[in-house]
Amino acid sequence: MPYSRFEWMGHVKAVEREHGAARFAIARLRDEVKADPSVLRGDDENRKALAIAHENLEGTYLVRLFAAFEAALRSFDRARYNDPTWDRVAAILIDATASHRRIGEQVRDSTHAVRRQRNWVAHEKEWDDAARVALAQARSNLCRFLSHLPDEWE
């Protein structure tokens, strides 16, 4: 069955939608607990972790967002080389695909910006606030890159 670019892009968008629901739910619970701590009485572990869960949520979803993007790109790259085991690191995958599909520098570089942020989160490095990409912008950058892939590949 061929892989569809549209489905991969939808998968990336679905991760962002899920983040929106999780952010809303955690923020609401946090506010509720702040107003009435008895909501989590007897559940100290969750009470302590609630604030940090809210703080780290976007980073957590950024890792998933990029994973969905990377899976799409890897699927395309493996089809391109007709090798289901073909593997290369994300940075090279992005550059090679950009070169192959003649994707502009601006689109490629904005994709690398998301990849770097994914690395900061995944490897628990200090965030460079100046280079920080919000999740919605990250989804936009990644979907724009994916839009340059063919409609389908085998």
Binding site: F6, E7, M9, G10, K13, E16, S140, C143, L146, S147
Partner: protein
């Protein structure tokens, strides 16, 4: 959700979304939008695979996707998004509420771009309301590279 109920709601979703795509095509095409439908695949909670109709719309450089999202939505029988493509930026949302489609959209001021919408207003979906919103999205869309 019981399996029988899930299957019924899923079938209803597929039917209602197809009818929505047909209505949008009928209303938008006379206003210069070119449309193309395509199936969107879903995997349900019971692992059942199914397809619902998605609809691409293009006028000039503006590309939109009428994107089925889910039938398992609190307070609604279905949700469908209208997204700017290829970036998948949110433009408007449609909810099937009590058997009627409503479109939720925040008309931007002239200085605002679509994608930075705040509080939305719900409008009953008609040919007129849809085309007003499509025109506003088109006028404020940030064209993609």
């Amino acid at each position: 959700m019981k399996a029988e109920s899930r299957a019924e709601r899923r079938d209803e979703f597929i039917t209602k979304v197809k009818a929505l795509a047909d209505d949008v095509t009928r209303w938008a095409e006379p206003k210069g939008w070119v449309t193309k439908s395509c199936p969107k695949k879903f995997r349900d909670a019971d692992h059942q695979l199914y397809e619902a109709t998605a609809l691409f719309l293009q006028r000039g450089a503006t590309r939109l996707l009428l994107d089925p999202v889910a039938y398992d939505v609190p307070g609604a029988e279905a949700a469908v998004d209208l997204a700017l493509m290829p970036t998948y930026d949110d433009a408007a949302s449609l909810y099937l509420e009590n058997g009627t489609w409503n479109i939720h959209y925040a008309f931007p001021s002239d200085s605002q771009a679509v994608g930075k919408i705040g509080e939305t207003t719900a409008f009953a979906l008609t040919g007129d309301s849809l085309n007003q919103i499509l025109d506003a999205i088109d006028a404020h869309a940030v064209q993609s590279l």
